[in-house]
């Protein structure tokens, strides 16, 4: 029987993985999203409202939360995709702030006091959801659509020359990312039975973007690594500090270590820890043509 502590850690890990993939899909197309908190809040409030105010089953509420965030992502993708680079980062960040501001001013959803829900999403919901998201994104990135997303990341102009529709592909990547973020929000609110706009602030969006960039955007395994590493390692430090008095400094010092780890990773692996070349090396020598299957 898993303890309450580890249940909480694994639940948070599952949610972090889901949200990391919401940022990964657009990032794979070269779009940096610092507004994941906005999509998470949209999904959380919609799903939360559906179970608490309208009594919908959890699965239906999660689906509606995801669809809502996806629809909003679709609509805002058009103005946001007109920006580039740091301006896109700022535009997505501003979007999340607008979402928080709007939700804060809806009394029916609890306003500043937040929204409490009765329905609970435990590990039997969270873990299969996270696995489903990883499998679905892995599948998506192995399709021709995934190929066009990755081609856009490398060279928009050449991808266009070979028929990749720049704006359509970017809009789809952004929409899929928003929908996954909404699912993450639905899971979050039902894991903690509560959500308010402070639950997922600017720092949340920054952490999620770090999971993805530090893990790497070249392969589908990057965000899985990033979210797992940055969720479990600080917890491991806290546990070590509890177990051994000699390691007591880790309790407060883990944030400093986390910061140093981020700086070192940016210096030593700016392309992220998990790169395509690394995966190729780990999976052995390239398969000969006659093997019947390439790496995708």
């Amino acid at each position: 029987m898993i303890s309450g502590y580890w249940s909480g850690v694994l639940g948070m890990l599952a949610i972090n993985i889901v949200v990391a993939y919401s940022v990964f899909v657009p990032a794979a197309a070269g779009l940096l999203n610092l507004g994941s908190a906005g999509f998470v809040l949209l999904g959380a409030y919609m799903a939360g409202a559906m179970t608490s105010l309208f009594g919908l089953p959890l699965a239906a509420a999660l689906l509606l939360g995801s669809l809502t965030a996806g629809a909003v992502a679709f609509l805002i993708s058009f103005p946001i995709l007109r920006t580039r680079g740091i301006y896109m980062v700022l535009a997505t960040f501003a979007f999340a702030e607008v979402v928080a501001g709007v939700l804060l001013n809806i009394p029916a959803l609890g306003g500043a006091a937040g929204l409490s829900v009765m329905a609970y999403a435990g590990l039997p919901v969270l873990i299969p959801s996270a696995v489903a998201v990883v499998v679905a994104v892995a599948w998506l990135m192995r399709t021709r659509f995934g190929l066009s997303v990755r081609a856009l990341h490398d060279d928009e102009s050449v991808a266009g020359l070979f028929g990749v529709h720049l704006r359509l592909t970017q809009v789809m990547a952004f929409t899929v990312g928003g929908a996954i973020g909404g699912l993450g929000g639905g899971l979050l609110v039902h894991q903690f039975n509560f959500i308010d706009v402070q639950s997922t602030g600017a720092l949340f969006s920054i952490y999620v973007l770090l999971y993805v960039l530090m893990g790497g955007t070249q392969t589908v395994w990057g965000p899985l690594f990033g979210a797992t590493f940055f969720t479990l390692v600080p917890e491991a430090f806290r546990k070590l500090a509890e177990i051994s008095p000699a390691l007591k400094f880790l309790e407060a010092g883990r944030y400093m270590i986390f910061g140093i780890a981020v700086v070192l990773l940016m210096m030593l692996r700016p392309q992220g820890v998990i790169t395509r070349t690394l995966v190729e090396r780990l999976s052995g020598p390239a398969k000969p043509a006659s093997s019947g299957r390439g790496s995708a």
């Binding site: 659509f145 190929l147 102009s157 070979f162 990749v164």
Partner: protein, 252 residues
Amino acid sequence: MKNALSVSDVSKAFGGLTVIDRVSFDVPRGSRTALIGPNGAGKSTLFNLISGVYSVDQGRIVALGQDITKLPLARRIGVGIARSFQNIRLMPHLSTLENVMLGEHHFSPAWQLVSSARASQRARAALQEAGLHDYPGQVVADLPYGVQKRIEVVRALMAKPGLMLLDEPAAGLNSGETHELRALLGRVSASGVTLVVVEHDMPFVKHLCDHVVVLNFGRKIFEGSPQNVRKDAAVLEAYLGSADVMEDARAA
């Protein structure tokens, strides 16, 4: 349709600098046309205009029977135009096979799995044909220059083009690789694809091409056969300098 490509009175300027100045020429269907000229003559710019990377300021371009002057970049592949680049522009984080499969993107279903045997069959056959069957799963950024250069050509071929623009395809290749490339392009041409090649390697041009267009300072100065291009005074002057310099060179 007699011509695969008709460039009519096309101009392009960047700021105050006119890099293509009222250029007109025709590329006969099925021909192997070389577009040559000194550095800065405007050859790559002309390729960028034909492929849609740059917009045309003035004039008209008709390719494979369709006016493509204002056609968006992503739709030109559907007309049958594919190209390679002077400086390699493969997708560095994709494998060889994926880069090559990108060439057939415009006529493939979006949800087809890239790793499926059916999807990669044509790409593998094309790599085999080009002698590149050893590298299907490797990330292209890790491959030698000559291999990458040939992968670009194979990627363009995968688009099933009617008109193929090759920007210095032999640059940086050793003599063996150049020979293989020439043989490959010969087979491509024999299958009915019209080739337009920008190339500085004149023996390569002489052996491959049957039609030559020469540019200098953004203007066309010659159009004709590879045999006649060497005798043309304007071409000699563009490459060697003024008539006086040529006289000096002959005297020396």
